[in-house]
Every structure is written in C-alpha cells, then in structure tokens.
C-alpha cells in the first residue's frame, strides 16, 4: 500500500516537471526559424575540392519568393558543389526586423522597397539594393470562381468572406493602395499576417476570396483561381535584393545574388509569375 502510494506521488511529481518542461518548450514552437546557424560544420564530408564559393548561404526572402527561390537554391547548390543555401522565408517586415536585430543573414530579398529601407536605414546593407523583379496583385477565388468575382468591387459585398494581408506587410499595403485607387471600401473577415496565410484561407475554402500576389495564385495551381483587376497596376511591388554588411559568407551571398539576377534566374522568376524590372 505504502509503496504504491509512493509511486503515485512520484509519477505526479514527474507529471509536474513534465508540464513545466512542456510549457517552456511550447513557447518556442511558434517561431519558424529556418536558420540553423550552428550547423555550418556538419558538411565536412570529405570535400577535397575547395571552390572559391563554399559553405552555407543564409538567404532571408519574402514569403512570395518561396517557390522560385527554393528552385534557384537547388540550382545554386548544383552549380557550386559544397555549398548549401538555407532560406528563411517570411513576412518582409519581420525578416527586416530580424536582420536589424542581428540575425546572421547573407542576402535579403524583400517584397517592398519600404521594408528594404528599414535595413538600409539601420546601415545593415552592403551597397545599394537593386530591384530584381516586380509583382502584381490578383484576386484569388475558389476553384471555378463560384461567386463570379470579376473585379475588386465584387469583393465589397457583405455575402463574401474576403481576407486581406495586414497593412503592415507589403501585400496588405499594396491591396490598400489598389482599393484607394479604385475608391472602394472593403471590410475583410481577417487581416492575415502574410500573403501565404491569406492565400491558404482560400485554399482551405474558409474564405471566398483573397487579394494576393499573382505569383501566389500561380503557385497554388488549381487550388485557387486568379482574377486580374486593372487597379493592380497602381500597386505594383518592386522586389529589392541586397547583400548584407554583416554577412557571414559574403562571397557565396554575392554569387547567389548574381544567379538571381542572371538570365537563368530571371527565367525561373518570370516562370513563377513575376515580371522583370
């Protein structure tokens, strides 16, 4: 009897400790950092040929670049054996905040000049950023466009659930610009934290429409249907790219930027729905 009582007490103590540990762990589960800065030395698998460009390149890039940059990263690793491209995709503003806060990044590709300015103002960029692509907005609707959305004005009705990006992220700012240009007032059900989560609300059919980038519509394939609207011309986003001053691997970073701006890189990017600058 006493032994079993003792055992249950011990398990309850274990449970208490477990709760404490889990509480601590859950606090870090929401961060989606893709940058394992400490894992630079694990690629020592007998690489005899030391190229000029080697090691890990840390690229911080806007969420809308996910598909095209991932492809370019593979190309880069193939062209420069021994290198590894590590991406951190996210909202441009939080990436910029990370960079000014000292995150170890080599290259920053932003979805708006405004967020790039945060980095240049903090004197964190090496050289002047260059625009490498542009992106336009499009309306993403459910497959087959069951609600018959054909213009931005169609989204202002009460019967449609529309999601926009929050004003603090570039796609939200651009959407606001387009709405202002069209003199429309739109009350969405949600201001999403980045373009991919706005798009996903339509992919998951929780929202009827979202104002996102053309590239995101294209990347989603047949899960959404894109509707172009003329006001998007008033809100074209320039994507600047720059090498960072505190880049741990600036040589490889520079090489990656060259690839992005080369004819080969531009082909991948325009294939994803971007337009050349």
């Amino acid at each position: 009897m006493t032994r079993s009582a003792r055992r249950t007490r011990r398990t309850s103590q274990l449970a208490g400790a477990g709760v404490a540990a889990l509480l601590a762990l859950s606090a870090c589960s929401s961060s989606d950092s893709g940058s394992d800065a400490g894992s630079g030395s694990d690629t020592g698998s007998g690489s005899g040929g030391s190229d000029k460009v080697s090691g890990t390149v840390n690229v911080f890039a806007a969420a809308s670049l996910t598909e095209s940059f991932t492809e370019l990263g593979k190309t880069f690793e193939k062209e420069h054996p021994g290198t590894k491209v590590v991406f951190n995709f996210g909202g441009s503003d939080s990436l910029a905040a990370g960079i000014t806060g000292g995150a170890p990044a080599d290259v920053f590709a932003s979805a708006s000049p405004k967020t790039m300015k945060v980095v240049t103002d903090a004197d964190a960029a090496a050289g002047t950023p260059a625009t490498f692509v542009r992106n336009r907005l499009e309306i993403a609707t459910l497959p087959g466009n069951p609600d018959g959305v054909s213009s931005l004005k169609d989204l202002t009705g009460d019967d449609l659930k529309v999601v926009l990006c929050d004003k603090t992220v570039p796609c939200g700012a651009a959407a606001q610009k387009a709405l202002t240009a069209a003199d429309l007032k739109l009350t969405p059900v949600s201001y999403e934290e980045d373009v991919k989560s706005a798009l996903n609300k339509v992919v998951l059919k929780e929202a009827d429409a979202a104002v996102v980038y053309k590239t995101d519509v294209q990347a989603a394939g047949d899960k959404v249907e894109g509707v172009e609207f003329p006001e998007s011309a008033k809100a074209v986003n320039d994507y600047p790219i720059t090498l960072l001053k505190d880049a741990p691997n600036s040589a490889a970073g520079k090489a990656f930027m060259e690839l992005v701006r080369s004819a080969e890189g531009q082909k991948v990017l325009t294939g994803a729905g971007f337009t050349a600058p």
Binding site: G16, G18, V19, L23, A27, S190, E193, E206
Partner: protein, 291 residues
C-alpha cells in the same frame, strides 16, 4: 509561472523509512536551507538568469517615453480586453470538459488508456500553427464536423471570437488535464472508496470528496491553462484570423506591431506581461498557497 507542485497532504510523511530519528529532522532541515550544494546552485542560478534575462532586456529597451500614448490607444485596450475574455473563457471550457477527462484517465481502467493519455497531450507537442490548421479541417466551414455545423445550425467558427476561444482551449486544455490528473493520482482513492461504501454514488463521491480534495490541483492547472491561452498565437491566427476587436488578441497585435513598429510591440508585450503577472500573483495569494 511555476509548475504546479503536487499538494502534499501529510507533509513530512514522504519517506518515514529513510529518515533517522525524529529528533534529527529539524536540524537537517535548517542545514538544507542554509547551504545549497554548488552542483545544484550554479545550474539553478543559470536557469533563473536564462528565464529572467530576456524579460529584463525587454524592460531596459522599452520605449518608456511613448508608453502613455500607446496605452491610451483604443486598439490596445480592445486587444487586451479580448485577450482576457478569451483566455478566461478558454480556461472555463477546459475546466468543464478537462477535469472529467482527467478523472477518467486517473480513475477508470480501460484498454488503451496509455494511448488516450498520449493523445490528450498531443496538442502540447503539435506546433500551434498546425493545431490551427487541424482545427480548420475539423471545425472550419468545410471541415469534417464544421460543414454540418454550417448547414444544420448556420454556425461558422473561423474568423469569430468563439473561434479564438476554441483555438486557445485546444492548446491550453492539455496543461489542465495533465495537472489535474497528476493531482488525482496523488490523491488517496480510499477517501472516495470510503464515501461509496457509505452509500454515495460515484458521482456524488466525485463531487463531494474528490473535487474538494483536488481543488488546488485544478487551480494550478487552470492558472497554467489560462497563462498558455493568454499567450496563444499560432492556433489563434490560423483558425480565427486577425480582425481588430473580434479576433485580434494581444499576441496577434504584438506580432503585427513587430512588423512595422518594434517599439510599440515591446510596449504591448509589457502591458500583456504586467497584466498576466498581476493576475497570476493575485491568484497565487488567494488559491495556491491555501493548499
């Protein structure tokens, strides 16, 4: 936020076989209080510094000058009020369905109990964003259950305040269940057995004997769940979206402020921190030391 210490009934009766003479006990206790052994003290202090330092840094870098202006903005109050309401509601939901679940896990032998216990703790290890997507797939407009809620009752949960409460309860309830189950297992079942042999039904025994017995454990679990719900971000923004006044809780407001104005984000975090510390300290004095 300290982990819940299981209530110690009968205090020193933990290991009577180990202790020497009863007379030696007070002296030993005093000695233990005086000098903590170095191999324990050093990591303990490092642990404390690790937890406290980021908060201190937040306080040092806080934009104190612009604080009054930020604190009077209606958006902040809106978000704070929504956070407190939703976290409290989520805790209540967790208590109503979580305590019976904990009782089931602790007191009823059934096949696959270990598996059920693992399932209950699953939301703890699931990234909250994935939890949010999972909730959408279950209770969303086209979800496994949600589509029927929509067609039969006209209820859609995503993008509503109720959705925020659900998302927070999903993430926070395991904390309550684990805590209460631990307390239940530590509580002596003989009291319940005595009550039932005296003619009480099992439910009456639970209500009149077990519940008062494990009240401190429930309180501790509820506080943990409340704290987790208050800070919830991933599941909330994924399931309920972000709309000021309706689904934008403080963590969401903080995250979005961080994108445009980091200083404002720090200020908002401090508000949330101050409120939660005040509430937790108040609860601690009233409930938790009473055990």
């Amino acid at each position: 936020m300290t982990p819940p210490t299981p209530p110690r009934k009968g205090g020193a009766a933990v290991g009577p076989a180990v202790g020497p003479a009863a007379g030696g006990r007070p002296r030993r206790r005093r000695a233990a209080r005086g000098g903590a052994p170095l191999p324990l003290l050093v990591p303990a202090l490092i642990g404390l510094a690790f937890l406290v330092l980021p908060l201190v840094a937040l306080l040092i870098r806080a934009p104190w000058a612009s604080m009054p202006e930020l604190l009077t903005s209606t958006e902040v109050w809106q978000a704070l009020r929504l956070s407190l309401i939703c976290a409290t509601a989520a805790t209540l939901v967790s208590m109503v369905i979580g305590v019976p679940l904990a009782w089931l896990l602790a007191r009823v032998e059934f096949p696959g109990r270990g598996l059920v216990r693992a399932l209950v703790t699953l939301p703890l290890v699931l990234p909250p964003v994935v939890g949010g997507v999972a909730l959408l797939m279950a209770l969303g407009r086209n979800g496994v259950v949600g589509q029927w809620l929509d067609t039969w009752f006209g209820i859609t949960l995503p993008f509503t305040t109720a959705g925020v409460i659900l998302a927070e309860a999903f993430v926070a309830m395991p904390f309550l269940v684990i805590s209460v189950e631990g307390t239940l297992r530590a509580a002596d079942p003989r009291y319940e057995e005595a009550a039932t042999t005296l003619g009480a039904s099992r439910f009456t025994a639970f209500r009149r004997v077990t519940l008062p017995l494990i009240a401190p454990g429930i309180a501790a679990g509820a506080v943990l769940a409340w704290a987790r719900a208050l800070g919830e971000f991933g599941a909330t923004i994924t399931f309920a979206g972000n709309f000021p006044g309706r689904t934008q809780t403080m963590p969401l407001a903080v995250y979005l402020a961080l994108q445009s104005d980091p200083e404002a984000a720090i200020a908002l975090s401090l508000v949330l921190l101050a409120v939660s510390v005040a509430v937790l300290a108040g609860l601690r004095d009233r409930w938790m030391t009473a055990s």
